[in-house]
């Protein structure tokens, strides 16, 4: 049994009836109305509780929680710069390790968390994240992926999906919007030999909270990629964040899965997938796409999903049974 599986063998998860009441992020934060990202952050922090140290990248979740003299943080929190949350958490974790060993402090169970948006993770912070994962620090990295640089006004990132309109991937006579495919961050985390990798989204809060909790129990690094709808940037209704996250899962655009010690598990099988077009429809960032464009995206989405499912052990078992 791998180290992650070993650490999780007696795991008892949360359910809707036993939600932790603790809110490590306080109300009064300045997120946009209907922000799907702060909702995901809230759910994740509820799962982690208060014996944590949080390192924040620059981004929406930093700006909306910390304008002086207010802080929404009820747990120790540090923001240093845009691209280095994973390096900062490396230092925090190392400091705790040394100080615990040298009896300077007694805090053996503290959980170390770094988070950033997709820009801070997939683009400018990729190197720091890769370094921290490779060195094997005991920490959780959470990427809140809203598929563009929302904090600076919706510019494209390498996590922006193909076809999406942003202020730096505008559709025009010679452009369909974002011209590249979304970078697959969880796969990159897996490639580092990260003991625990998962995807989650706030439309499935119990699943999200259980994954974050599991990440905290696994020794070594853990990476969680959290789909975080942004009504402002995606140009959908402010009441639709949760619905968008749900549709992303139901349309196979954002499958939920875990990778424990390198072994893939599908968290939620999409038995009756909704068409990608249904997910796209409420979002004006996709409105310029033609039916043919959407069909092309649909084909790729299906292929990617099948590729993932083929890697998942549960699916393999089912296939064998059928045979």
């Amino acid at each position: 049994m791998g180290i992650a599986a070993e650490a999780l063998k007696n795991f008892k998860g949360f359910n809707l009836k036993n939600m932790p009441e603790v809110e490590p992020v306080s109300p009064g934060h300045r997120a946009c109305q209907g922000c799907g990202e702060v909702l995901a952050l809230r759910q994740a922090m509820k799962a982690l509780g208060t014996n944590v140290v949080v390192c924040s990248a620059t981004g929406c979740m930093e700006i909306i929680t910390s304008p002086f003299p207010q802080t929404a943080w009820r747990v120790p929190w540090i923001h240093v710069a845009f691209e280095n949350a994973a390096a900062v958490v490396s230092g925090v974790e190392s400091a705790y390790k040394a100080m615990n060993r040298k009896n300077i402090i007694k805090s053996p169970d503290t959980v170390f968390v770094a988070y950033g948006g997709d820009g801070a993770t997939a683009d400018i912070g990729m190197q720091a994240l890769s370094g921290a994962l490779e060195r094997g620090h005991n920490f959780i990295y959470m990427c809140f992926d809203n598929e563009a640089y929302m904090n600076t006004g919706v510019q494209r990132s390498s996590s922006t999906p193909f076809g999406a309109q942003t202020t730096t991937s505008p559709p025009g006579k010679k452009s369909k919007g974002q011209s590249t495919q979304k970078k697959n961050l969880p796969e990159i985390a897996v490639a580092h030999g990260t003991p625990y990798v998962a995807t989650a989204c706030p439309a499935f809060p119990v699943d999200l909270m259980n994954k974050v909790k599991k990440a905290s129990l696994v020794p070594g690094p853990a990476y969680i990629h959290i789909y975080s709808p942004c009504p402002t940037g995606w140009r959908c209704g402010i009441e639709e964040s949760v619905e968008m996250a749900r549709l992303a899962v139901q349309s196979k655009v954002f499958p939920l899965y875990e990778v424990i010690d390198g072994v893939y598990y599908l968290s939620r099988k999409v038995a009756k997938p909704k068409p990608v077009a249904e997910y796209f429809k409420p979002q004006r960032r996709f409105r310029h796409l033609t039916e043919a464009d959407v069909q092309q995206i649909q084909a790729r989405t299906d292929a990617e999903y099948d590729r993932l499912v083929a890697k998942c052990v549960v699916e393999v078992k089912e296939k064998k049974e059928k045979e």
Partner: protein
């Protein structure tokens, strides 16, 4: 008194960090700093130093990890130079603003391009506005002593700023010379355990590095400026205490034969030693020459430096760096000194020389020529505000 041992200055500097019982070292290799971090990783690997050595993937992450570590309350060290400093510089400004007492050795090296691994003060000057305290050693002993003093200065409850210990790359970092290594017991007496005022602690949660909007940014910068300003007096006290404990006394500005000097050479770092040799040679010929050496560049010791140089008719000011100003403005050290003199309405003749760039040697002969040039001139001897030394036309 401990015995003098022959040791490479980098190794001695790393041993000094070990004597200070650091908790975390996060560093990335770069010539000529490598021997410092190699030896620290060795000390950790052999169990001589109980610390976490974080082999980060870049200098940017080195300083980031140092910030995390220091914010968590650990005694923290790193080392770099040149391009490494340039890469981490973004975080250096943040480390000082967050008031984190990180100590960093900089094995001074020229800044690219052309890429050049040799010594000058390009990185030291790159860092001068970063809000760090900058101390400069002239030899191995001073490098060791200043490293130990740096932790005490950084962690002083009245200071709480990061400290950069500068040692000239190769000319000091790779030199084997006799050094007295302080006794561990004495270091412990001089440098008590670090007691952070604020740290990242779940038992007492704080928010570090919040957003500062226009209504508070000015106040934050003012507070930081005051911290650096008021650190000067405290550094003097700590240097005095160091002298009492270890028998070697340091000052913000060190002087050599300046009392009756008509010409004073102003230098920083290992070049000062050659300058003193040149002064001895010129004194033998009856020339009244002295040297004032800047030991602490930030906070800038304006009063102390003025006191040291005010009697001189001529000043030979060395800048071991090119600071591109477009011609008329002097090198950075000279610029500081000119502003001191302007404020005090005192106008000696000044020659500003850019010397020792990218490992170019500056010899005793060079010093003699500079002294003669300024003495013989009517307007400071240099047609423009500064002049390159040893440049081939």
């Amino acid at each position: 008194m401990s015995k003098k041992i022959g040791v490479e200055v980098s190794i001695a500097a790393a041993d000094a960090v070990g004597l200070c019982d650091v908790d975390v070292v996060a560093a990335y290799p770069i010539t000529p700093q490598t021997h410092i971090v190699e030896h620290l990783s060795e000390l950790v690997a052999e169990g001589h130093l109980d610390a976490e050595f974080v082999p980060v993937e870049s200098e940017h992450s080195a300083m980031s990890a140092c910030i995390g570590s220091s914010a968590a309350g650990a005694r923290t060290f790193t080392s770099t130079c040149s391009q490494g400093y340039a890469l981490m510089s973004e975080l250096c400004y943040i480390a000082s603003a967050l008031r984190l007492p990180i100590v960093m050795a900089v094995a001074n090296r020229a800044i690219s391009a052309p890429i050049n691994i040799w010594n000058d003060h390009g990185d030291l000057m790159y860092a001068r506005d970063s809000g760090w305290i900058q101390v400069i050693g002239e030899n191995g002993q001073e490098t060791v002593d200043l490293t130990i003093a740096a932790f005490r200065i950084a962690e002083d409850p009245n200071i709480l700023l990061p400290v950069q210990v500068n040692l000239d790359g190769f000319t000091l970092s790779h030199m084997i010379e006799p050094i007295v290594m302080p006794d561990k017991k004495d270091v412990k007496k001089f440098l008590p355990a670090y007691k952070p005022q604020l740290r990242l602690d779940p038992a007492n949660p704080i928010t570090m590095g919040p957003v500062g909007m226009p209504d508070v940014y000015t106040e934050a910068r003012k507070a930081q400026d005051e911290a650096l300003k008021s650190s000067k007096a405290q550094i003097v006290k700590i240097f005095n205490e160091f002298g009492k404990q270890f028998g070697r006394k340091y000052n913000l500005v060190e002087t050599y034969k300046t009392e009756d000097a008509e010409t004073i050479i102003i230098t920083m770092g290992s070049l000062s030693q050659t300058a003193m040799t040149a002064v001895d040679m010129m004194r033998d010929k009856g020339k009244k020459v002295g040297v004032a050496r800047i030991r602490v560049f930030r906070p800038f010791p304006a009063d102390e430096l003025f006191a040291a140089i005010k009697g001189a008719k001529n000043l030979v000011i060395l800048d071991r760096v090119t600071s591109f100003t477009g011609g008329y403005v002097s090198g950075p050290v000279c610029l500081e000194i000119k502003s001191i003199l302007y404020d005090r309405k005192h106008y000696p003749k000044i020659g500003n020389f850019l010397a020792g760039l990218g490992g170019r040697d500056t010899t005793d002969q060079n010093f003699m020529e500079m002294v003669d040039k300024v003495a013989a001139s009517k307007d400071g001897g240099v047609p423009l505000a500064y002049e390159f030394i040893n440049v081939r036309e």
